[in-house]
Symmetry: C2
Subunit: 354 residues, 2 copies
């Protein structure tokens, strides 16, 4: 996939830098672990520091000192998950900030204008993310509104002179209903230029439900566009996603559980914070090539976590991100050598999801 | 100065890694900013994770993945400043842990044995640090006890086979009394091999008091031993210290104020957290060669601090440490080119202590 800030090799996992920083990781360390593209959140940056501050800095890349591709979401998901006192209309969404309760109004046009200020390589369309347990009618309504908003996002994107070169990714919705999902995809495709998101999954439903939806969509994908499964980042879901034709993923999971003292490994999660690791002088994961695994032991990292030292979160964040990025690199190589099914079976044999 | 893990060029500032980590800084980034030697705290490591865990890891260097010289203090200062319910006798100090209240007993011998387990290059003797406002009698008593404890530290140091090669630094005490300080120095010198500490300063007294004591000691230093002024780390005190013949310093100040959102600069402190920096697109300090100044603006770091992102503390810690290390490098170069007084005047002209 080509973007203004460079090429991205798929399938790819995008580390999340919610507030213009991947938590506890220096940008140069992101390069080192092989991050190709990161995600940042429009909703958060709009509230603090405000997109004008970032535009004045020369855009998000310059602001956060990161010179590889960046994707920004539209704020839609956060408006529907974090903000309170929402009033949804066809015009847009009025909501209260989760920080100070201040009232805001976000429209498709405003979501694009904010992302124009940020200057991300990939902008996401403003969508309505329906709850996973909503009925068919609600899901249809949200899906149709997302399509009407998509047309407005596209119009705003092509309006006038823009400060940065950017591409818009539409988002497929439709809840947990295969018929709505396929309809959403077909009506969305005319707006797609480089790729599209699949939103409203990994929002609380069981994994098999998500896989069913992906299975239903699979026969309808055109070959030329990147498919981005939003908000997914556990190792098993990445493998199952690639198996179902997904090219892009993002999730806060690796950095969030790192800060809680948990490491991702090929055999599943390790709660390094636990006392059992007090005198375990092995690396987090044998064979891992990350800085944390090359230089430190579980005993040391466990010590850092148990005395609340920031370095513990820093090292585990590096490891967990490298773990997922390496997993993607292995899958890419398996796809290119036509051995993905072997990879899939090996992975399923060793991975324990607990 | 030569140590088992390498040479140290003086004058030198030692970043503090209290709990076997310089807070929020990766060891490889310590190398990059030119850290030559760091300090770690016996008291803290004794309580968590315990010195046996570190010995089993192969010593503190291996445990924390840091392969340059390390100095450990003796725990004396923390016992007198952090711990509670102290009972001081000639045998040693009984105290309650500041973490869980558990009773501990620390003696000169035990302080050495713990440091033997840690395997630091430089061990500090176990001393009694008197309050800065104590009277002459109290100060004399603490100074004399420190001398008696020093003899026991030396004896323990030379007893039997030790797991690591280490050198012991005695500590000069004597409160705010010039006569006691000079007496302490003279009675301490017979025990000195490589260098000695000057303890019980920078403990709450006004700066001019500390400078008076250093002035009183100055004529009595032998040329061949390194002089380490313990717990001092503000830029002006480093300059005044070097002016008075000091070779080594340590302090938590640069990393502690970094976590509070404050940057050290040649013109004094900058509270980067303040709103005035919201749209200030300059680096923290123009001309600084650190990673933070080369890649990020005050506006970005201010944003990180105001949304409580760890990266803010990481970047300011890097900058503040590099700032002090660079200051020491400049002073060394001024000393070597016989231009220290010019340096001193330039520094005094620009530095504002507020």
């Amino acid at each position: 996939m080509r973007t203004p800030y460079g090429e991205v090799k798929t399938p790819v996992f995008m580390p999340v830098g919610t507030q213009a920083t991947v938590k506890a990781v220096l940008p140069r360390d992101l390069y080192e672990i092989g991050a190709q593209i990161i995600l940042s959140n429009t909703y958060h940056l709009h509230l603090r520091p405000g997109s004008e501050v970032i535009k004045e800095a020369g855009g998000l890349h310059k602001f956060m000192g990161y010179d590889r591709p960046i994707l920004t979401d539209s704020g839609g998901y956060q408006v529907f998950s974090l903000a309170t006192l929402r009033k949804i209309s066809d015009e847009g969404v009025e909501f209260s900030s989760h920080i100070d309760g201040a009232r805001h109004f976000l429209t498709p046009e405003e979501a694009i204008r904010i992302q124009n200020n940020l200057g991300s390589d990939i902008m996401m369309a403003f969508d309505e993310c329906a709850p996973h347990d909503c009925g068919h009618d609600y899901a249809r309504e949200a899906m149709e509104r997302t399509l009407r908003w998509l047309a407005r996002c596209c119009e705003e994107t092509s309006r006038g002179e823009k400060p940065f070169k950017q591409v818009l990714f539409p988002i497929v919705q439709g809840g947990m209903f295969a018929d709505l999902r396929v309809e959403s995809l077909e009506k969305t495709l005319p707006y797609v230029k480089v790729g599209f998101g699949i939103g409203g999954l990994s929002v609380g439903e069981p994994k098999h439900k998500m896989y069913e939806i992906l299975d239903a969509l699979y026969p309808h994908y055109p070959k030329e566009f990147a498919r981005y499964l939003m908000g997914v980042g556990s190792a098993d879901c990445l493998v199952e996603g690639v198996m179902r034709g997904i090219d892009m993923f993002d999730c806060v999971l690796p950095t969030r559980i790192a800060r809680n003292g948990t490491a991702m490994t090929r055999n599943g999660k390790l709660v390094i914070r636990n006392a059992v690791f007090k005198e375990d002088y092995q690396p987090i994961e044998c064979g891992c090539d990350c800085y944390a695994c090359r230089n430190f032991t579980r005993a040391y990292i466990r010590h850092l976590l148990s005395v609340d030292e920031i370095l513990g979160a820093m090292l585990l964040s590096l490891h967990n991100l490298r773990f997922l990025i390496r997993l993607m690199e292995e899958m890419r190589s398996a796809v290119l050598t036509d051995s993905f099914m072997d990879f899939y079976r090996d992975f399923a044999d060793s991975f324990i999801d607990f």
